[in-house]
Subunit: 420 residues, 2 copies
């Protein structure tokens, strides 16, 4: 019998739903004990996990997978220790469940409180990094949710081993083992069944490239939180400190080009272009960055590749950057509105009114003033951990920590109150 | 040319998007001035609005519409005055935009703030009450959003007149007229185009019956906030004060049976059934309520109609109630989980541990202790106004006021900060 049929996926979702009901009222102590049990088990059973991972890596290598993908897929003792340490870190974070978000007594004497509660069943669809399997399980467990994990088929053996170890660890605790489940099946069909499991699954969080996210958004009847696509811009205002602008541009583009908060577009105010652009092109060239520029940028150097509209829309995730000169701050905002992905945009400026206008008009999850786009991150923002970075406006926007994995419930208490 | 083609709907959505960008940074004073201009215009041009409404009412009467539907559809001078007063009330509410939800300085000196911002373009799909047209426009404008209104075709002339009057009123203010638009077209096709306008529309809020809401949820690629379906239960615990339980039950069922926070199910603990059920059946009978009960309820009176599983799932919105006896609080919770809609459930109890367990285990938007389900309402909760009651878990749950019509944006300010 093939794995991942509709019935099998729905059965897993229903077991998650039952586990979520048991998990929701558990106090923090119980959940933290379970997280430490998971961390212990990951270390104790490292040999088994690494053996399963070697199967995935070998299979991927034989099928011609690129080296950087093999690196993402690979585990070793050190990486496993880091994964276990991250689980203990989550245990140390405050429990969002039960937090009173609002609370007051109404004029009629009813006591009203709005309390954080778990979302219920959270489905995570992700690509070939086995560490996400454990990270996502730890964050959802801490926030009182049951998780359905659907990783890449390339990491199937690793993920199966990791989930088995985590579930076995839960068996010795008060947390139900079905709080952590792998979605059965290796093909896309099982993902489709998951996306149609409305009523059993409360939210799907796709983590990965634009095509994965778009297909989930298009097809899912389960509510989705979009994450991860970042076409971020650095705008160098007329009044920018040039050294600061260079430092921020180079950091945003090159410090880690493969991540969503790296810069993909440079916009320069015309009034500072003559001073800034030559130095920027030189600094980017020194670091191996190819600049795809408009005609006014290209006038500064023969190294500039002519940019098309497609360049302004592209999340390169590589040592490439699109660049254009704008005649005003408002033109920079218009460019960002037209081509950006709503992740993070930065302005470098010495003008307070310019900073105020840019932060007011730019409609992105995060806006940086005189700082690198690379700071948009749950750890950097002080959340302690991150399940992803939302680029949508509903529910959560920007880096999502534990509170973003909760909903709320109103409780009101009276002494026989009826409505007149 | 027929109205409501895909191109026409997308053009309206694109105009809304442009208006939303202009509207987002406007300060409270500008928006409040616009709201008062709208209220003034609704009163000044009452004759024109009421004439259009008479066309809708006549057409509906000729097509055999039921009297209570005609009543919902009808406007008169007093109702219009109340609608205008509600707009002025919204002008008096605090502006959620710009509120700092979180804010602190990070260890590296970056100043981080999470600020409320408008959602952008909000689509409202609703049934034949013209007052919703104005209410929804006022709430979305106050929260800095552009609105796309898609009311029932039965109210098309009324809605067209109301929107024309509101747009004309905006022409004399700094708020763009396209902040308030009617979705063109009277048929279902135009709704479908609206549901596929992802990227132009930020959220759809369907207000109406279960079938409307389900079809939007199934077909929309635009994120949806589900509202309005309420299959609410009153659970009478073993330790309940019987007089209090009767008072709450009668209020929850009969004070206004047609609304979503009215009770549709009664659950009674077996230990109190002999004392409570006969009095409850009598009180409900006195008020014309038909009880659809299980066998143990039916044993108390020949008037009880045998209940099927379908009864427990039904939102009657009429003088009917489903009823069952349960042997424990946990059985009541299981019944609610199986059949409820996640809106509001009430427990009547003198036991503090029972109240605590019920509020912890029931997974609904609101849980009432010794109070009627009828209090789940934005006005009653002190929000000043309400755009609907969400029964989903993402973004907003329970009554939605102005803050629920916003998203957030992170702003971080440095002095040349780069990531190491």
């Amino acid at each position: 019998m093939s794995e991942g049929t509709r019935d099998q996926v729905l059965e897993v979702a229903a077991r998650g739903r039952a586990a979520a009901a048991d998990l929701a009222p558990l106090p923090r102590g119980v959940k933290d004990t379970a997280l430490h049990a998971i961390a212990d088990a990951l270390l104790e059973r490292a040999a088994e996990i690494l053996a399963a991972n070697r199967v995935d890596v070998e299979r991927a290598r034989e099928s011609g997978t690129e080296e950087y993908m093999l690196d993402r897929l690979s585990l070793d003792a050190d990486r496993l220790a880091a994964i276990a340490a991250a689980v203990r870190n989550v245990a140390g974070l405050p429990d969002p469940v039960g937090e009173a978000v609002r609370g007051y007594t109404l004029p009629n004497g009813l006591e009203l409180r709005q309390l954080r509660v778990p979302l219920g069943v959270v489905g995570i669809i992700y690509e070939g990094r086995p560490n996400v399997t454990v990270d996502a399980a730890a964050l959802t467990l801490k926030s009182g949710n049951a998780v359905l994990l659907r990783g890449s088929s390339s990491a199937y053996d690793s993920n199966t081993a990791l989930v088995n170890v985590m579930r076995d660890a839960l068996a010795g605790t008060e947390v139900p083992a079905d709080a952590i489940q792998l979605v059965p099946g290796r093909d896309r069909e099982s993902v489709k069944h998951l996306m149609r499991a409305r009523g059993l699954v409360d939210v799907l969080i796709p983590r990965g490239g634009a095509s994965l996210i778009n297909s989930v958004v298009e097809e899912s009847t389960v509510p989705v939180i979009e994450t991860g696509v970042g076409n971020c811009a650095v705008y160098v205002d007329a009044s920018a400190d040039v050294d600061m602008a260079l430092s921020i541009l180079v950091n945003a583009k090159t410090q880690r080009p493969s991540v969503c908060n790296a810069a993909e577009t440079l916009l320069v105010h015309a009034d500072i272009a003559d001073v800034f652009v030559p130095r920027a092109l030189e600094a980017l060239k020194d670091r191996g960055v190819t600049v795809h520029g408009d005609e006014r940028i290209a006038a500064f150097s023969a190294d500039v590749v002519p940019a098309t509209v497609e360049d302004y829309r592209t999340e390169y995730l590589s040592l490439d950057i699109a660049a254009a000169i704008v005649d005003s701050l408002d033109e920079a905002v218009a460019h960002i509105r037209a081509y950006g992905s709503g992740h993070t945009e930065a302005i470098v400026t010495s003008s307070q009114p310019a900073a105020r206008r840019f932060t007011a008009l730019v409609d992105s999850a995060a806006v940086a003033v005189n700082a690198s786009t690379r700071f948009t991150d749950g750890e950097e923002f002080g959340f302690g951990a991150e399940i992803g970075i939302s680029t949508q406006k509903l529910h959560a926007r920007g880096p999502m920590g534990l509170p973003e994995l909760t909903s709320t419930k109103y409780v009101f208490v009276g002494e026989g109150h009826v409505r007149g």
